[in-house]
Structures are given as C-alpha cells and as structure tokens.
C-alpha cells in the first residue's frame, strides 16, 4: 500500500468514527448501589431511545448525569458544564419501582414519567444552546448578518427578519416563536411581544416563562405523548420538520377540531366540529368602512368557505352559505358599559370568536348598514388546512389583551394568517388597519381582488355583500316609480309613523309590495335601534341612580353578557388535558356547553319578557305598529302570489 493510500484510509476511518459518534449519557457517580445504578441506567436508555436520530447525531457529546440534593419541588436541572442533575429525593422511588405508579398532578402522570421528561427537557436545553443549525440554515444566517452589516435594518430582505441575531437551535426561530405565542409586535421590524397570550389549555404553565422553556417543555410532550400531534398539531408539524422524523406510536387523531359557535341563537348547541378537509377556501372578510366616524377603518375577519356534507370541494361550496363560518377577533366586553380607557390600556381580553356567516352578514349589512367584501386568499391546500387548524388552536388557547391600536382585529388576523399558513410573503408584512391589511395582501398577490371587478357577479356569488343602505335606496326608487308617493327621500318615507305608510299597502302591486317589505323592515330596525339606545341610556344612568324598574331586565342582560364568555374562551369548560380537546373530552364538553347555553337561553327568555315593559309607551306603540305593518304586508304578498297562480314551495 502506498503512503497516500494509507492516509486516505486513515482519513476515511476518522470520518466514519466521527459520523457514528453521538450523544452519550453517562452516570457520573460511584457511591450508588448496584440497584440504583441499574434503575438510573434504564431511565437513561429510555430517554435516548425516545430522542430523534438527528438530535442524537448532532448533539455529539458526553453528557454527565448525577443525583443531587435539590429543592423538593424541582425534578432536575442542567448546566453547561455540570451536565444534568436530578433530584436525589426521587432516587429511592425510581429504584424500587414505586415511581412508575406514583401519580402526579401533572399531565405526564407518574413520577417516573416526570423523571424521564426531565431528562428529555434538560437535554433539549443543551441541544437548543448548541446552535445545531442545518447547513442551509447556517448559510441563511450568515447571509442575513452580512446584509444587516452592509445595509442596516431597513434594507433587510424579508426572509432575514428575525434571523440576524440567532443564538439557539430552535427557540429563537421566527416560525417557532409565531406558533409558541410570542408573535411579532406590529411595526417594530420583527421584534417580539414580551407576553405570551396562549394561556389557556397549557400542559405546563412553565412553558410560558420564555421561548427556551417553551421548547424544552414541548419536546417532553412531543416525545412522550402519542396524542401531542393531535393536541398541538402546528407545533408537532414544526418539530417533526426540524428533526425530519416523527415519533413512533402516534395516536389516531379525530377528523375535525371541536369549536364553540358564538352565534346568537341560544336554542342551539354551540359545540361543533371544524374539519379542515371540508374547507374549500379562506377569504379575507372586510367589513368596509362607512361614513360614520366610528368605523372608518373597517373590521378584519376571515371567512371559512365550508362545503356542505357530501359535496366535493369546489366552487359550488361558495353557495353553501349556512355552512360557512367567520373567524372574528373581538374584545370581549362582559358589561354594557365600555370604557375607552380600558380599551387603550389592554384591560379587555382579545378573543377569537367563531360565528355563523349569515349572522355576520345580517349584523353588518342590515343593522350597521356596512358592506362586506370577501376576497379569496391565495393559499396552497396545505397552507389552507394548516391555517384552519391553527385557528382552532387559537380558539382554545388564546386569551390575549385587546389594544385599540397595537393589538386590534387587523393585527390579530395578520398574526393568525402568518402563524397558520406560514406563507413566506406574510413574514414581513405589517399593518394595523383592516383596509391597509387588505391592500397589502392584494399588493403581494396573496388575495385575489379580481372577484370584485364585476359588481353584479360579485354580489351574486358572495364576494360582496352590499349594505342595505343601498338596497333601501333602490327599493324607494321602485316605490316612487310605481306609487304616487310624495316623499322624495327614503329617510322621509321611513320617518313617517307606521300608520301613515300602511294605507299604501293595498294599492301596491307585487313589485311595489316587495319593495315595501324591505322598507318596512328598515323602519322596524330603525325603531329597534332607537329602543335599544333608549334602554341602554336608561340602564346606564339608572344603574348609577338605582332605578328599581330596570332591575330584572338589567340583571338578565348583565348575566347574559357575563355568562357568554365561555363561547369565546371555551377552555373554561374543561379541566385537565391541553391543546385541542380530544374525543375523550368530547362528552364533557357537550354536556358543559349545553348546560351553559341553556342557562343563557333562560336568561334571554327573562330579558325578552321584561324588556318591552321598559320601553316608553310611544316607542312601544310605534314598534308594534311596525310589526303589524310587516304582518299585513306578508299577507298582502301571499294574496297577490295566490291570485296570480304562482308556484308554491312544498
């Protein structure tokens, strides 16, 4: 063998030894009994067994482990040089096997599982600190640091945001921080929020202390809980992608995610199942700003275009309106009185409400007289399904603080879009205005604005929901054309007493009657709004002055507001468990939500009974006259239809 060949062989040997070397756990104590050593060794072997191959290969070092005297509440800790230290108080129970059956209050169950989780937790800290980036990541980080040095923070490319000062393998990864609940603070070039709002249904609130602990705690569950991928699917996906590995023996997840429908129909069971596979599209739903000074920036929501059962995914699903849901971040105000000061200082919780589309259409277009635009987001199937799943996760875990400016509906919606879809173009997008966010989405090709090009088609296919202000104008024009009325403005027509409009009904043909029907509804809604305003004013002033007559109705209203909190914070219905509820929790969830909803229904029945007696007599008379008009118009329409021999629906 020639000399160079020998060298080559040596080199090959060295390399192969290097690649086979991996993480070793060594018990570094001599004064343990044989049984103690054996029990510890079995634990360590199990820990190594549970780790992903990439983890063990990359963390190529010898980690010492010893039993130390530690405070009773601590299972263990890890130091850079000291290795892992476990609490010696727990050694006897591990050795004689009691630890395997000793139950704990924590989700891991037994003391032995806790010890195993502790070893994995501490090893994760070591892995995280070791900066074990992949070659591709390393070159990205280097590229980003160079860009920062030469161009400064303003000239930084989008994909460098959050990558210029990385120190950890996992816990300062921008995507991980998005999923973990430390999102980008709006308008601060990627700087992260200090507080974590994903408070509810946490397996271990220690994870909320900082991103390093978050990663370590989540690795425990990722590696030890077969249901982790069902309970925290987005994080499980992130970790599985990082390690290019899925833990063995995964649990079978349910088809859909449980959610609570915050619709106003208290007679209906609010618990539902949201199946990402049945969502055809996700639209950005914007309640457009109107002339009123109070709503000039609009409101951001997301619309889930869900297909009716049995219908294949496709454009036809756009007409399954009764299936569609709206995701809307709102401040939860459990009181009639809203304080602007509390809103500015974040005293109200910000929560993700899931609402039926039809209710949202009615509230905006018919009550607030604002139009809605529903613009399809351009997402891949994978991005879309991940976004829907992420929304369910937020529904169960998020309980943030609403700030009128820095954490409003647009900011929250953007955070959900970013963390859910992980679309690269969303990473560096910033907007605090609902209409500004839509413009940014359109500009980056993330939303398809062409659906609005033809206004008639947009209305017919549900990309635009027109404000009823426009409809009332159109109806009034029909009325002017077909009946010799004096009024020249729709407002003047509606301001007349109901009894002045009523005599026209008999003279109205089918078209005029149809127009009158909508106008009578407008008149009734106007009366309702006036009644509501009067009641609210009376209630708020009466509360200060102890007005006894408002007692029962006011009590019912306050209780309805206070008790409806569970609809936006469903976590309070369950005890134990973490993340998305699983089938074992479904029964309790069903029973609890039904109970709460029945309570709400009784309260709302009480309010229904009381509330009319509180109205001023003139208001009540006008309201009843309006209702009477609507009933008469209905009868008139049916009469015309029958006389003309129209089709009767079965």
């Amino acid at each position: 063998m020639s000399l160079p060949r020998a060298w080559l062989l040596m080199l090959a040997l060295l390399v192969s030894v290097g690649s086979q070397a991996e993480l070793r756990l060594v018990l570094s104590e001599s004064d343990l009994s044989l049984a103690e050593r054996q029990a510890t060794q079995v634990l360590l072997d199990e820990a190594l067994q549970a780790l992903p191959p990439r983890f063990k290969q990359q963390l190529d070092r010898r980690v010492k482990l010893r039993w130390r005297d530690l405070p009773a509440e601590v299972y263990g800790r890890a130091g850079r040089f000291s290795g892992i230290e476990l609490n010696a108080l727990l050694l006897p129970a591990l050795t004689d096997g009691r630890a395997a059956t000793a139950r704990t209050e924590r989700p891991h169950g037994s003391v032995r599982r806790e010890l195993l989780a502790t070893v994995l937790h501490e090893l994760t800290h070591l892995y995280d600190r070791a900066q074990l980036w992949s070659p591709a990541q390393k070159s990205l980080l280097q590229h980003c640091r160079q860009r920062l040095n030469s161009f400064g923070p303003v000239g930084l490319p989008d994909d460098c945001r959050g990558q210029t000062a990385r120190r950890f393998t996992l816990s300062d990864d921008p995507q991980l921080l998005d999923l973990a609940g430390w999102p980008q603070r709006v308008g601060s070039r990627g700087q992260r929020e200090a507080e974590n709002g994903q408070l509810a249904r946490s397996p271990d609130s220690y994870e909320l202390s900082n991103p390093r602990e978050f990663v370590a705690v989540n690795m425990e569950y990722f590696l030890l809980d077969p249901a982790y991928a069902c309970r925290r699917p987005s994080l499980a996906r992130h970790l599985a992608r990082h390690f290019a590995w899925t833990p063995p023996d995964q649990a079978q997840c349910d088809d859909g995610h449980a959610y609570l429908n915050a619709g106003r129909d208290f007679a209906r069971q609010p618990l539902g199942r949201l199946e990402p596979a049945r969502v055809y599209a996700v639209d950005y739903l914007l309640a457009e700003a109107n002339d009123a000074w109070a709503s000039r920036w609009g409101h951001s929501m997301l619309r889930l275009v869900i297909c009716a059962p049995g219908r294949a995914l496709g454009p036809d699903c756009r007409l399954d309106l009764d299936q569609h849901l709206v995701l809307s971040y709102r401040a939860f105000v459990g009181d009639v009185q809203l304080s602007s000061w509390d809103g500015l200082t974040g005293a109200y919780p910000s929560r993700l409400f899931v609402l039926p589309l039809e209710q949202v259409i009615e509230e905006y277009t018919k009550i607030e007289l604002r139009s809605l635009a529903s613009i399809p987001l351009q997402l891949t199937r994978e991005q879309l399904e991940n976004l829907v799943t992420r929304a369910a996760e937020q529904h169960w875990s998020y309980d943030g603080d609403y700030y009128f400016i820095s954490n409003n509906c647009a900011v929250e919606t953007l955070k959900l879009l970013r963390s859910g879809s992980q679309h690269p173009d969303l990473h560096a997008l910033d907007s605090i205005m609902p209409n500004g966010l839509l413009d940014s989405l359109l500009a980056r090709g993330l939303a398809d604005g062409s659906v609005l090009d033809d206004p008639r088609e947009a209305l017919r296919l549900g990309y635009r929901f027109d404000s009823f202000r426009e409809r009332y104008q159109a109806m009034f024009a029909v009325l002017q054309q077909r009946l010799p009325i004096e009024q020249s403005r729709v407002e003047d027509w509606l301001e007349q007493p109901a009894t002045a409009r009523q005599p026209w009904f008999a003279k109205a043909d089918l078209r005029a009657s149809a127009a009158l029907l909508l106008l009578e509804q407008a008149a009734l809604r106007r009366q309702l709004l006036l009644a509501q305003e009067e009641l609210k004013q009376r209630y708020l002033s009466g509360r200060a002055g102890q007005d006894a007559s408002l007692g029962k109705a006011g009590g019912a209203l306050e209780q309805i507001l206070a008790n409806s909190g569970f609809l936006s914070r469903p976590a309070e219905l369950l005890e134990g468990g973490y993340g998305l509820p699983q089938s074992s929790e479904w029964q309790r969830l069903e029973a609890e939500s039904r109970n709460r909803q029945q309570h709400l229904r009784r309260l709302s029945d009480d309010l229904d009974q009381e509330v009319r007696s509180l109205l001023e007599p003139e208001r009540l008379a006008e309201l009843e006259a309006s209702e009477n008009n609507l009933a008469q118009l209905g009868a008139h329409l049916r009469g015309l239809h029958k006389a003309s021999g129209g089709l009767t629906l079965p």
Partner: protein, 106 residues
Amino acid sequence: MYRSLLSAVVVVALFAGSVQAQTLVASSNVIIRAVDRTFDFTSDTTTSIRDSKIVLAARDDAASFVATQGAIRGVQLEAALGAIRSRVPEAQGASDLVLAEAILAL
C-alpha cells in the same frame, strides 16, 4: 414633540370610537334580539324546503330581486335557488323570478 403628541391623542380618540362601535355589537345585539320578535330560528334538521335555513335566509334577497326585476341579485337568493332546484322537481324548469316570488310568498 408637542405636535406629535397632539396627533397621537387624535388618533387614539378616533380608534377608541371605532373599537367602541365594534365591541358594543355584542351587547347591542342581545338587546335588539330581546326587543325584536320577528327573528325566527329554524332547526337544522328540517326536511321541508320552505322551512330550510338557506331558503328563509334568502327572503330579503328575493324581495330585492322581485322589486328590481332581477337587477339586484344577492348570493343568498342564488344559494336558495340552487337548493330549491336540487330538491323540488317542479322547480327545475321554473324561472328565477317565479322562484323568487315563491320565496317571497312564504
């Protein structure tokens, strides 16, 4: 300094108004619902087309369509027309206007 502070106050006041309007929706709706007796809630399990949610939700769209002779054609009507045609054989050949009138006469 003074100027930026002033504009901050103005922005704050405007935003406060906007969110106030937004968040009061919940309590307002409770009151409106309590006062209003024309709301009717329908069950999901109904079998008759005239009681189906999607058809009842189309009543306002049907009225707009009939009044304007088809100029205003909303998606709720569109959805109801599809639902009726797929479930009622004699409706398949009927025009949109005939069906809209039928919805209006419910």
